[in-house]
Symmetry: C2
DNA sequence: GTTCCTCCCGAACGAACGTTCGGACGGATG
DNA sequence: CATCCGTCCGAACGTTCGTTCGGGAGGAAC
């Protein structure tokens, strides 16, 4: 009888959509009740509090995106290609799950105590993965700490402007960001051909 | 008798600090009353609503940062240098006014109606300024829209990690980000000397 | 001395919030 | 049949919220 688990996941999904649209604080349990079809009190059968709902979203999402990144790196050996693979996976995942990722990015500071700690740990694991990738490519003059946070900024900021229904395809976005981060905005002396010849162009 | 204006600015300053620390929605008017030394009702002598307080912060800050950028560009003619000057100004201003800028970045979607519209216009003017700068440098293969939003992501994300009391100096941060955006993380074939020789190093 | 205006506040208002209480329903168990 | 347990809910509880009300204090105007 997984129907109980299904109901919980339905609730988490509804909460994700509304938290993303309206923000965590601005969303009331009555909003969630209305949108999920459950009664106000019924929600508390599945979840201890409103904060636990946010915790479930963030915990699941970090776990998912971390596992996805690890899988995307499998078999890729060239350090530069590994960075590119990380960026590509992050952005394709992000654009494919905008509401989850917006809740991850925008409601970063709402949890407290144990829940906060556990999400922080999952986040740390994911961030450390990028850190290790960045240290394994040659980066002469740039502070790698600044570079890492800056890359996350490039990628995570998209929840403020990217429209999945628009003309920019996720893979194209991922390639642009990867090229931007690795080679910069100005035309470099590196062969542009090798970049334009990437699959799916 | 500017003492009334002073009191208002004191209030706006207090609100900026608390909104930045706790978030707009999580801050109550009673919090502001306590922190500003004014009575709860007294606040409403200076301000029509809690939202107007947020509006004043955002409106003033966008105006200030836009004017600062225009001033920073004055006399700079080389297109590439103009982009670098914009980045440098944005980051030095940001690191120097972290609370204002956090409120600008994080509480972007809280206003409604006329106030929202006016802040949106000020923001538009500032963003358009960067847009025009980016179009005037050679950027062969990269989508300028993606590049512009990405650059803002690089810069605005710092409110999530940068510690002004830490070891990274604002000017160093600004130079790193500028170099990262223009030339990328990988060592380019451009002379690194010209970058290392920038003033203040 | 009366009126007016600016500045300011204690106290309250109505609404909305997250959460809990007590119990209803239905299938499984003995 | 009685009992129990997982599922679910209407109604309420206590709190906090943004805002308003009615008025006081004090200086300026006439």
């Amino acid at each position: 009888m997984t129907s109980s688990d299904d109901r919980l996941q339905h609730l988490v999904g509804t909460a994700t959509a509304i938290f993303a649209e309206r923000g965590f604080r601005a969303t009331s349990m009555r909003d969630l009740s209305r949108a999920s079809g459950m009664s106000l009190a019924g929600i508390y059968h599945y979840v201890r509090s409103k904060h636990e709902l946010l915790f479930l979203i963030q915990d699941q999402c970090f776990t998912e995106v971390h596992a996805g990144a690890v899988a995307a790196l499998e078999g890729v050996t060239d350090p530069e290609e590994r960075v590119r693979a990380f960026i590509r996976h992050h952005l394709v995942f992000f654009t494919g799950h905008m509401d989850k990722m917006k809740v991850l990015s925008h409601e970063d500071d709402e949890l407290e105590g144990t829940m906060r700690q556990q999400v922080r740990e999952r986040k740390r694991a994911y961030v450390d993965l990028l850190w290790s990738l960045l240290h394994q490519v040659d980066h002469r003059p740039v502070n790698p700490v600044v570079a890492g946070y800056t890359l996350f900024g490039m990628m995570n900021w998209i929840y403020t402007w990217y429209n999945p229904a628009g003309t920019i395809r996720p893979e194209q976005l991922a390639d642009d960001v990867a090229r931007l981060f690795l080679y910069g905005y100005l035309p470099s002396t590196r062969p542009a051909v090798e970049l334009a010849a990437s699959p799916g162009g």
